[in-house]
Symmetry: C2
Amino acid sequence: MSILVVGSVAFDSIETPSGKAERCLGGAATHFALAASYFTDVRVIAVVGEDFTPEHEAVLTRRGIDTRGIEHASGRSFAWSGSYMTNLNEAKTLNTELNVFQSFKPRIPDEYQDSDYLFLANIDPVLQAEVRAKMPRAKLVCGDTMNFWINGQPDNLARVLKGLDALLINDGEANLLARDPNLVRAAEKILAMGPKSLIVKHGEFGATAFFSDRSFGEHCDPCRPFRAPALPLAEVVDPTGAGDSFAGGFFGYIASQKQLTPAVFKKAMFYGGVMGSFAVERFGTARLQQLDPSEIEKRFALFRELSHLEPEEA
Amino acid sequence: MSILVVGSVAFDSIETPSGKAERCLGGAATHFALAASYFTDVRVIAVVGEDFTPEHEAVLTRRGIDTRGIEHASGRSFAWSGSYMTNLNEAKTLNTELNVFQSFKPRIPDEYQDSDYLFLANIDPVLQAEVRAKMPRAKLVCGDTMNFWINGQPDNLARVLKGLDALLINDGEANLLARDPNLVRAAEKILAMGPKSLIVKHGEFGATAFFSDRSFGEHCDPCRPFRAPALPLAEVVDPTGAGDSFAGGFFGYIASQKQLTPAVFKKAMFYGGVMGSFAVERFGTARLQQLDPSEIEKRFALFRELSHLEPEEA
């Protein structure tokens, strides 16, 4: 089944304790699409400028990603630069140039209309809502957001949240959105805002899913929270895009399955962690561009083992 | 099998977003002993002052804890006051009065000599080493420490570390001890200092164990790291003693088993998390004083479910 993702394609300049990289192909839609491409067909809605060359596009098309929804505008692509020198868990933004992204009006090619899965990456909630409205047949919709929209566009964001099957955000965003420093209470408040499920990402400590009684159908028993671990890594080369790669692995795996059950959701969170762990091993999307499916399965086995008690031990 | 714990018995005055408590019976040895008492016999080496009444002692003896090693000195007991108002994950110390603890010289009753398990709670490494030397027959020794000793007594601490089967510390302590901000590299460096195994506690995100090739015998295959989750809780009333309660559950479970195998170690980490999760539900040791074994087993099942993928799902 096909996933349609709308979000940023950008050039990232990044400094971390492991080194520097200039103008890596990045952006939430890029990381998401590459990670999801190992599980299912992916289509991208985004805008790029004249600095986005056929070589950049080939990074996506080599992975079978459908780029017909990427609009080529005159001007330069979205560019971001950031530093992780003082804190690997949080980027310090040095510069943001919206460029062609500033006047982005998402247009959805007719060929994308039959996409069953829709991912609204972290962009202006007005655009997220617009794309959602244009994809009425999407049967599962997940999304991301950030502090900038939580603070600046609460009403528009509230409308997006009502239509989400799952919201994926990090701890700080969850606390801010709910105005509650406690994760469990924040999750309850956010689920009451509309999303059927909530995934809160904890960086190196994994991610926790919280479920409502609508998570798996109209009325179902809510599942207890579920926590997927993250793999302890001896070197995090570049954390940029780890969350989007998590989302790509998570939603890509779900799109590859017949039905969204609690078991599928939980396994999808492990695949999210797996793709996030690969993403941070190299600058930009270098690692996500050339994975072998057997590497993904091997790492999934590592994740599984990491917190697993054998039934006879329990 | 019996565990001998040496550490502080103290009176804690605590302020958290949930309220205030004055002079709760606390201290590392108290939390550890109460948590471990649900799994095995526990003996305590500590010093208290004249403000430690028979009622206080009964908190321990009601749980079957052997208090013959608690020395009664003239003067007042160790007293600590702290606030978690700005950060539930880290206490701000408001006041510390060492009192009788200042001149503490641990004396080990003859009846304690056959203790197979020894826990060196967070006290001066000189005292930890002294107790270790007086217990040559202890077959498994675990210990804790803190920034104050890492910074102030590196050489004495180094000697203690060489004799430990497992060191239990938190993330910040691990980074400081290894002078490395990365958890995996810090763990490698700490294991090279002597402890056969290392547990790094992550507060609300659980704990990760790192193993050496000496973790389970003279020469064995080192296991991969293992992460035990922590239960997401809607209210953390008082985090004081959560780490010591984790250690008590962890070591208590190990002492209740015939042999320390990888499976026993992993399950012990889950019991550590279970006892930590109970400890924070009430001020001081209130919750740890009156648990039902069935509550412990129920919560263990919750912990197990939290990160568990069914084999058929994997």
